[in-house]
């Protein structure tokens, strides 16, 4: 399959919805296939790449930090960017600026950037296909 440019819009906040698990699985497949990927992180999804997320232990379950091995979405975003690069693709991950400001999550992991819905329009115009994953 020839390289494609695919856009995915996300709206769910971290740690709240199975939609994000599925979205990251779809993005992972696209990255492994070497496609160029655009992600527009809107509304709650603007916090996915927030750099100050921290893993934590789970004292209720008696697990320390390493044993808990808590996944953070910021690490998943970084891993997605790395996977795409390994396979000859690239990820342009845009965090909605107003959504970011509202939530105070303006510090992003490297390789993602601030933008606006105008970026989503540009993504759609330049993409072979687009998938919007809305909140429920």
């Amino acid at each position: 399959m020839a390289k494609r440019t695919l856009t995915i819009a996300l709206m769910d906040a971290p740690y709240e919805s199975a939609n994000l698990t599925t979205a990251f699985r779809i993005l992972d497949v696209a990255a492994r296939r070497g496609h160029d990927i655009n992600v527009f992180a809107y509304e709650g999804a603007a916090a996915l790449a927030f750099a100050r997320q921290a893993a934590h232990p789970n004292p209720v379950h008696g697990k320390n930090l390493a044993e808990e091995n808590h996944p953070t979405t910021k690490d998943q975003v970084a891993a997605l960017l790395a996977e795409a690069a390994r396979n000859g693709g690239k990820v342009d991950w845009v965090n909605c600026g107003m959504c970011v400001d509202e939530r105070g999550v303006g510090e992003f992991v490297d390789g993602t950037r601030r933008g606006s819905p105008a970026d989503f329009q540009a993504f759609v115009d330049a993409s072979d296909n687009t998938l919007v994953i809305p909140t429920k």
Binding site: L6, A18, N19, T22, R25, I26, V29, N129, T130, L131
Partner: protein, 106 residues
Amino acid sequence: MISYLLIESRDPFESNDVPYYYELAKALREAGNEVTLFLVQNGVLAARPSAPAAALSALGQSGVKVLADEFSLRERGIARLAEGIAAAAIDVVVDHLEAGSRTLWH
């Protein structure tokens, strides 16, 4: 012929919108389009032999390809599927995006 991928993430016992999405798949097929309905997350609960599965089996008979995400099935301990529904990897979504299918999420 236009190709559609309809992704259903909701359980019909949870949302009354789900039957309308099945109807959309049926109508698109009857209009001469190629239609795949991909069940994911709680959407796969309808793939068990059960009352809602009859609607999915009927879709299959009408020419809609009905698939259920194998990861979501494993998460929920579902090993047996109703007639006309097949398990599939999440790769199906990227296959359709690559091919230019009109891809909708519910």
